[in-house]
Amino acid sequence: MSGATDPATTTHLFFGPQHPGVTGNMSVEMWFDGDEITRAITHVGYLHRGFEKLMERRLWIQNFPLVCRICVPEPDINEECYALAVEALDGMEVPARARWIRTLVLELARLGVNLMAFGGQAGTIGLGTGAMWGITLRDFVLDLFEELSGGRIYHMYIIPGGVRRDLPPGFKERVISVLETIEERLPEFDRLILNNSVFRDRTVGVGEVRPEWIEEMGLVGPVARGSGSERDVRRDHPYEAYGELDFDVVTEQGCDIYSRALVRRREIDLSISLIRQLMEGMPDGPVATVLPNLTEWRVPPGEVYSRVESSRGEYGYYVVSDGGTRPRRVHVRGPSYVHAVTLLERMLVGANIADVSNIMVSLTTCPPEIER
């Protein structure tokens, strides 16, 4: 690691694991010269629950209630990634309606996370009202999930070959009603956060992510798109119903915290647009294929890497089967892996101590993705 660590002039600080800058337990060990960080090391491990090891001991279907717990704010992408991998290995076909419902679930989840993340960005600099409003609006989305799956946070709704059940009667009207409620409040949300001079002063030009770092480190999601990149799996390699929807990738050029917040704000509009398209074009038909006997289900031998676009960026599952009733290996590659370790350690050098929380939240790290 670079940076001066002269004990005469350097302050050594352990930041975390409990602090305002992250949506889970993760700490950063930092060295300061005055207010300026000269060196930073990310420490993870507080949330290690051995998911990958557990998955090797459980039946293929038993891993579905497990994978969603890897990321609390947005569990559905884990279900989707695992389902895509199992379907690819087993050669399973997914009915069209199930693909559209899955896309709807993924976009609803993205909408909820981006509402929370956008408000949360303001919360880190003391604008607590923004954080509360974001959580409040997200709750309307969680109401929909509760109706659809029975669970507000963990849904366990996406399974191999489709989804657990069809949309309930009148669901479309309630989705549209929630979208209208959110849209009605967004202008006020914008005035509170984006037009706030303190928010702009604390975010414009702070937490720079240089465009050349995107390829070098493999940065994804709003972190990359806030620095001008157009990386988005939904458009580059469409899965489920994304190939049939009309949308443009959201990008900003500022490379700073403000740009990343703006990407998330515009992603909210994009998700609302996609959900409307999905509700209008939803095909009829079955929502799942017939699965084999789940206790004796043997997935053919093979290896596959499946990927989807989460609210934080590209999410991947490397799944290996040896033809048995349990996975041989499952490796989860969340976007936080690179953002919270490789990127954060580099971008904190030269930053001010007062901006640490702000920078960490702008990366929307999710520590369980790193530790699995």
Binding site: G50, D236, E303, Y305, E314, G316, H331, R333, T342
Partner: protein, 187 residues
């Protein structure tokens, strides 16, 4: 993309097996002593500039670790997976941290979870997740999770009833409940 990469590997006179191939996705298996050469060639000649993941599979029956590198094209975002088998005993794989900075963290985790060493990785001795871990690396197939749990945490006492008051009284000794017990429960 597949053809370009296949041609590149053939130019290197490197034997390879195609494991899986589809649109925008290619998985090849190469000899372990040529894996790094193929990865660097794919980066320089085929634009596979983004490292997505380094993963390992413990194939204990064959006494090998299968390492898999997942690269992504910066042009069309297609995926290239390169796999190679390394002997399990004293496994050592060249580090790619100088080329891809993200590799440093992936390699640190593999050293910790599988015991695979990556010479050239300047931070491979730093703990990643498991600070102070003294057992064999836990993601190896021969790590006995049950034996470790029993030895570390012991067996939970068998539960003979489901009354929380009795349970707390048993483990803490005397315990006075702040709320008077109802007659039915006193019996």
């Amino acid at each position: 993309m597949q053809k370009q990469i296949a041609d590149m590997i053939k130019d290197m006179k490197c034997p390879f097996d195609e494991v899986r191939s589809s649109r925008g996705y290619l998985h090849v298996r190469v000899p372990s002593d040529r894996a790094v050469e193929v990865l660097l060639g794919a980066r320089q000649r085929c634009g596979m500039k983004v490292l997505q993941l380094i993963s390992a599979v413990d194939r204990i029956e064959e006494d090998v670790f299968q390492l898999t590198w997942i690269l992504e094209s910066s042009d069309d975002r297609s995926i290239l997976m390169v796999s190679a088998d390394y002997p399990r005993e004293d496994c050592s794989v060249p580090s790619l941290g100088e080329v891809w900075p993200a590799a440093v963290a992936f390699e640190r985790e593999l050293r910790e979870m599988f015991g695979i060493r990556f010479p050239g990785n300047s931070r491979q001795e730093e703990d990643f997740l498991l600070e102070g871990w003294k057992e064999i690396p836990p993601m190896r197939r021969d790590f006995d999770t049950l034996e470790f749990s029993m030895r570390t945490f012991g067996q939970r006492r068998e539960r003979t009833h489901t009354d929380p008051r009795r349970y707390i009284a048993e483990i803490t000794g005397e315990w006075e409940t702040p709320v008077p017990m109802r007659k039915k429960e006193e019996k």
